[in-house]
Symmetry: C2
Subunit: 105 residues, 2 copies
């Protein structure tokens, strides 16, 4: 079993929010960005983005890197593998496609 449950709860919950997923996508696509820069790309305020980033950071999906007065956030995704692992485990025996995926972990 991939064991620990609480991180998994956290991961799914964090990824459940569309804004958060979009933030992740931006970070992956455009490289490390600051909260302010990200806020420009969204309808919401900087503070809202900051909150999302904090949650993402708590879940280890993002890591803050300070340089002077600004903080750039970088996407880090070892954690996503945990989610995939659960999904494959959950669907074990369900269908062939899952089996194929599972075989290549």
């Amino acid at each position: 079993m991939s064991s620990e449950r609480r991180p998994l709860d956290e991961l799914f919950a964090v990824l459940a929010d569309p804004t958060r997923r979009a933030v992740l996508e931006h970070l992956v696509h455009d490289g490390p960005l600051t909260a302010t820069e990200l806020a420009d790309r969204f309808p919401s305020t900087r503070q809202a983005i900051v909150k999302h980033l904090k949650l993402l950071a708590d879940a280890d999906l993002v890591t803050p890197e300070r340089s002077g007065r600004e903080v750039r956030y970088r996407a880090t995704t070892e954690r996503l593998a945990d989610v995939v692992t659960w999904l494959l485990g959950a669907s074990a025996g369900w269908d062939r496609r899952a089996e194929r995926l599972r075989a290549h972990r």
Copy 2:
């Protein structure tokens, strides 16, 4: 991009709840069960389970099958592939492991 967004929100949100994931696991492991049977396996009431099942059904992760006065729920997981797809897409270029998984979609 990775297709429809709203169902993805729904999927992540539904999977974010530990009870819901546990229900899914029970259904996969023990075969189709009724809400009442499931409720016996959890600390919560039947009604709570019913709500979870409704959400799971809305997300097409479970399908109700009525027979007489009882309704058995069966796990159906084509949808889980969508989640995996997003995860792999999101992590594209991130690390080697993701790449390996991605290659076998």
